[in-house]
Amino acid sequence: MIRKNIILLFFTSLLLVNCGGSDDESQSDDIAPIAYDRAKMLVHWADKIILPAHSSFKQTLIDLDNSTKSFVAVPNQSNLDDIRSKWLISYKSWQHIEMFDIGKSEEIYFKSKMNSYPAFKTRIENNIMLGNTNFDDVSNYSSQGFPALDYMLFGIASDDTNILNKYTGGYDYSNYLTSLVNKMLNSTSSVINDWSDYRTSFISSTDNTASSSVNKLINDFIFYYEKGLRANKVGIPAGVFSGNPLKENVEAFYNKEVSKDLLLNALDSTIKFYNGTSYDGLSSGPSLKSYLTHLNSSKDGSTLAALIASKLETAKSQINMLSNNFINQIESDNNKMLVTYDAIQSVVVLFKVDMLQAFSINVDYTDADGD
């Protein structure tokens, strides 16, 4: 009797499963799948944001490289002005790709090599003296990239005349300058070249696993916003983590006048990525914001998407109230820096707590059972 019942139950459930199966198929034929189209989002990220940002960045480096060549050949004031302006253009462009620490970038420690600050002055001077620097050595991360160029173009002497003297007085400084720019160009080329292969696997990795493109890039994005932007550019120099301000830790410490400009570029790139605005700013596509709105997992879902957008704008207006020169700002009124930090921090909470809850993504990979 029982056996009969089991058999009956077995076949009924088989039937049910089959029905379910055919239902699913007819559904996917007629109606588009209801899940958010992550593949489309990845394609948009790759083709409209990441790749254009990288190639545009590379162009700025090529310009910088050309200016470097002219400057090294003829180290005069007008060439110095030129290389400085190309450095700034490139540094601003960099702010739009630092967050994409994925694939080759992650593998070669791209962001550490491009933008570890404060620059390690004594180490740089040492490298210049010895020549033949190994830029892949971890201990040289803070003696290369934009912060090292900042030192080379603004910090090696007290004024422009003396800076120019360093370059005319022998080849050591010129050589180091050239090798810095070469290294940056090489790393960038290898990242971009790799993307032509990597793109395929990047856009197909849509799973909800720790290693999938979507989860990794969202984690990278939040990590960048929290560390690269909030902590490095504002929190650490303002003394949030140390008790007393560390003004030598501002970004572009030797130039002094562009820290705010760089921060605004970084925030803009964050806002654009969140909104799904293409790199050229002309179009928009699937984004974290539209994903949040789609999920609408709670009544607050749409509110959250808008709340993040508006808090990012608040952070931007706070930054706009700061002096261009963060060293001055810290010395004269560090409280403004702290208020700015709080405005940026409030979005960290919305990203890490509310957005990740809605996406049901873990903050980085935690390997343990749940119940």
Binding site: I2, N5, I6, L9, G20, G21, D24, Q27, S28, P33, I34, A35, Y36, R38, T206, D207, N208, T209, G235, G239, V240, F241, S242, G243, N244, L295, S297, S298, D300, G301, T303, L304, L307, Q345, V348, V349, L350, K352, V353, D354, L356, Q357, A358, F359, S360, I361, N362, V363, D364, Y365, T366, D367, A368, D369, G370, D371
Partner: protein
């Protein structure tokens, strides 16, 4: 009169034997699995700081000796399975397993707690009465054991299911389909059902209500003979389905195995005879030992009273939350050890501010300097974790110099898809607050109401 009659009732010893074997083997496998996943290292040895249960601060990982603890635990589980020195083995299993669980509450899981209390219960049960190596050593095997010894396991499992069903009777679970509305759509990568079924709102509601009814009814469907077989098939389906959906480790297998206890002895005798066919027969030939009709407990009154007290505590303990004001899911006072399984979705962010009492200068702590990502995640939304960590930080930063510090926290938590709100009063110096069983007044109330049990 009735009670003593009940206590005199006998039943076949087979169900206990099968339960013992299943439990021992699953535990042994769990320990090996835990080891192979590298979790002894990442959860117990690598972290420099561990979160303790109140009153058990002295229970800490033992550096590399922690491995020995797991070896003891694994071996005793195996000895339980084969029934060698059963009472001593299950006692050591209980001790070592419970010690492991007490080392760091970051890893708290309801099913670990279940294993702890189940193994405690098993210390007092004659689970080696038959089909055990102890039978060969003592040269006697028992056909029957007091019926209540089997029933005590059934009661415990009934509590587990029924209480986890009761916990689901709340407005978030039933009327907002929360947190399944968050969890299920994130399973879009499941084959067949991920892209469509898991995204549908009615499916979220169906599974919320279904889950509640399942938990409330399944123990009774298992107890009632005509529905038992269907209930068991449902148990298998339910637990394997949740296994597909959620990373819940060994829990499904433990519950499926545990449910076998509800079957009649004929079923268990079949399993035993099947096992006898697999295992070398000579070894277990019945002429090696005398068959005794009834197993008699040595101190029946003592054991019955211990188990009665144990079960009464199990009945009452989950309701201790009623002693605290405020929303249970938010304050988490009386949340653990109460069969609230996969019940809420909670995420937090807690950043600590260390302030110098004299100068008023302050700075924020990088949690990564002291905690693993897993610890930080768990700490960020649980008040007792936040307090313990605040004290650790206070001690750490005041031991540097003879300065007096205050510890504040900037804490935000989101519960079941609500927007995050501030969790802890940012003006309270947590270094000055003591852990206790009293209500923690510095938890800010949830700005919403969840109705229900």
């Amino acid at each position: 009169m009735n009670t003593s009659n009940y206590l005199e009732k006998k039943y076949s010893s087979a169900p206990l034997a099968v339960f013992r074997i299943g439990f021992g083997l699953l535990m042994c496998f769990s320990i090996i699995r835990f080891w192979f996943k590298g979790w002894i290292e990442t959860l117990y040895i690598e972290p420099s700081f561990h979160f303790s249960y109140y009153g058990f601060e002295w229970v800490k990982p033992l550096d590399n000796y922690t491995y020995i603890l797991f070896i003891i635990c694994g071996i005793s589980a195996f000895l339980v399975a084969v029934g060698l020195k059963y009472r001593l083995s299950i006692f050591f299993f209980f001790l070592s397993f419970t010690y492991i669980e007490l080392m760091d509450k970051t890893t708290y899981l309801n099913h670990y707690y279940l294993i702890s209390i189940l193994s405690f219960l098993m210390i007092f049960l004659p689970a080696n009465a038959s089909f055990s190596i102890d039978n060969l050593i003592k040269k006697r095997s028992y056909l029957q054991v007091p019926k209540w010894t089997i029933d005590s396991i059934k009661i415990l499992l009934t509590i587990v299911y029924f209480y986890s069903g009761l916990a689901k009777i709340n407005s978030d679970w039933l009327f907002k389909a929360m947190p399944l509305k968050i969890w299920l759509p994130s399973k879009f990568d499941l084959p067949l059902i991920g892209e469509n079924l898991m995204q549908l709102e009615w499916v979220h509601y169906l599974m919320s209500w279904g889950g509640m009814f399942y938990d409330l009814l399944i123990p009774f469907l298992l107890l009632y003979k005509p529905t038992r077989i269907y209930a068991f098939l449902l148990v298998i389906f339910f637990h394997l389905f949740t296994k597909v959906l959620f990373p819940i480790g060994m829990f499904p297998y433990i519950m499926i195995m545990g449910s076998l206890i509800f079957f009649d002895s004929s079923f268990h005798l079949k399993i035993i005879s099947l096992l006898k066919k697999i295992i070398p027969i000579n070894f277990i030939k019945s002429n090696h030992y005398k068959i005794v009709e009834i197993y008699r407990l040595k101190k029946p009154k003592f054991i019955v009273s211990i188990i009665s007290i144990f079960l009464i505590i199990q009945f009452l303990f989950p309701f201790r939350y009623l002693l605290y004001p405020g929303e249970l899911f938010w304050n988490e006072q009386g949340y653990r050890f109460s069969w609230r399984v996969m019940l809420v979705e909670k995420v937090g962010s807690s950043v600590f501010k260390i302030a110098n009492k004299k100068t008023g200068s302050f700075f924020y702590v990088n949690n990564e300097d002291f905690l693993t990502p897993f610890q930080e995640k768990q700490m960020s939304f649980q008040p007792d974790f936040i307090l313990e960590y605040a004290h650790f930080l206070g001690d750490y930063y005041s031991s540097n110099e003879d300065q007096v510090v205050e510890v504040y926290v900037d804490s935000y938590v989101a519960l079941n898809g609500r927007l995050s709100q501030r969790y802890i009063d940012k003006n309270v110096d947590l270094y000055n607050e003591k852990e206790s069983f009293k209500h923690k007044k510095w938890i800010l109330p949830l700005k919403d109401e969840i109705k229900g049990l």
